[in-house]
Amino acid sequence: MDSIPILKIGSALLVTIQVDMHDQLATRLQDDLTEKIVQHRARGVLIDISALEIVDSFIGRMLANIANVSRLLDADTVVVGMRPEVAITLVELGLGLPGVKTALNAERGLALIGGVSAAGEAADDADDD
């Protein structure tokens, strides 16, 4: 059975989803990621979905699950590269992907892990006037 490759970049793990995922593949990915987060003591997981034309509730749940499990293992999850039409559809579906950080691309996403970017930081700051 094929599986999705997981790359290590610094203290983060990068996953690029390029195929239409069926159930077993999704389960396999979640298992592999969980294992590797622990194995490499990763601080973050970057999931690149720029190749996905469709994100339905199944994939949405998978992403949310990955984020929840990672958080328990002390790692951030950032989903990057969502296409505009996918974002519009997800919003209409009512899936806001709570607990999942997002960024425009992998570069920005990496900056978010560990809260290093300005935008990421400001989100946590109380607003000062």
């Binding site: 969502m82 505009p84 919003v91 992907l97 997002t102 920005r108 300005a118 400001a122």
Partner: protein
């Protein structure tokens, strides 16, 4: 059951009795040029705003198609295959008139005035005992042509209006790049679900193109916010967030603020009173500081202390 030769009034048309078909076919076959000449001469060209040449060439196209349709089928059903050419000619004529802004009357009158000329032809060439039946058939046929023309005209106008509506929608939701990484979307007018789709698309595409991290949604120009509008705003904010951009809402007037609270809507988004304040916040958040620069000296000294924000 039909009486010999008399057709009940059917919207699209019906099957012709054999003798009627024969009469109809010869009416067109033998008299086409007379019919055309008569038709054009009875037109009030000024009233329908056509030139003699246009009337002649358009009229000839209609008559040719009609003659063919009548000869090849045995019905006067406008929706049938034999009438395909007739429909094409009428559609082209009607569309062109609709797009040029002629009125429905000006367009249909041209077709309907064919009746007079056909009646004249029937009178000249048909035996009295067959004339009434043939006149009925001809009259109904031309009526149907007229109705078809009007319908096509209507559809064309509706398409035109829909297209213009879309253009207006797109023009009225521009996304403005305020600074590196900061865009603003001044919303004007009501935010219904149709416009929200356009707004979201424009905004998200701009985020992709400019790599914006912060989007300021200015609702100064939105007169009223109800539950639906608030939901649409929230949708837009959520969509932008999924693309990695944070939103700031600006331009919330006191009444709107009260309405939102009363509605119990949780606008989980930072909001500022003015676009200027929102821009200042956005600049801070993206790590920028605004300072006043001393004027190159011609003796002019700084009148105020340097202003820094951040």
């Amino acid at each position: 059951m039909l009486c010999a030769g008399v057709m009940p009034l059917v919207v699209g048309g019906g099957i012709l009795a054999v003798s009627d078909k024969k009469n109809l076919v010869s009416l067109f076959a033998e008299g086409e040029s007379d019919i055309l000449a008569n038709w054009v001469s009875t037109l009030n060209l000024g009233e329908i705003r056509m030139t003699r040449q246009e009337a002649e060439s358009q009229g000839r196209a209609v008559l040719d198609a009609l003659a063919k349709a009548v000869a090849h089928g045995n019905s006067s059903d406008m929706r049938g295959g034999e009438f395909a050419d007739v429909r094409d000619v009428l559609q082209a004529f009607s569309r062109s008139r609709a797009l040029q802004g002629f009125s429905p009357t000006e367009t249909a009158t041209f077709i309907l005035s064919l009746k007079r000329s056909l009646f004249e032809q029937v009178r000249k060439t048909t035996r009295p005992e067959d004339a009434f039946d043939l006149l009925s058939i001809v009259s109904e046929l031309i009526d149907r042509l007229g109705m078809f023309t009007i319908e096509t005209y209507q559809k064309t106008r509706e398409e035109l209006i829909a297209r213009q509506g879309k253009e207006i929608e797109e023009l009225s939701t521009p996304v403005v790049k305020l600074w590196e990484g900061i865009v603003a979307l001044p919303l004007i007018g009501t935010l219904d679900s149709g416009r929200t789709q356009v707004v979201m698309q424009n905004l998200l595409e701009t985020i992709v193109q400019t790599g914006a991290e912060i989007a300021i949604l200015d609702i100064t120009g939105v007169p009223m916010v109800d539950t639906l509008t608030a939901q649409h705003l929230l949708k837009t904010v959520s969509a932008a967030r999924l693309m990695g951009a944070d939103c700031i809402i600006s331009g919330i007037r006191p009444q709107i603020a009260q309405t939102i609270v009363q509605l119990g809507v949780d606008l989980n988004v930072v909001s500022k009173a003015t676009l200027a304040d929102a821009l200042a916040l956005a600049l801070r958040r993206t790590g920028r500081v605004v300072t006043k620069v001393k004027a190159p000296s011609s003796g002019a000294s700084q009148e105020q202390p340097a202003e820094t924000r951040g």
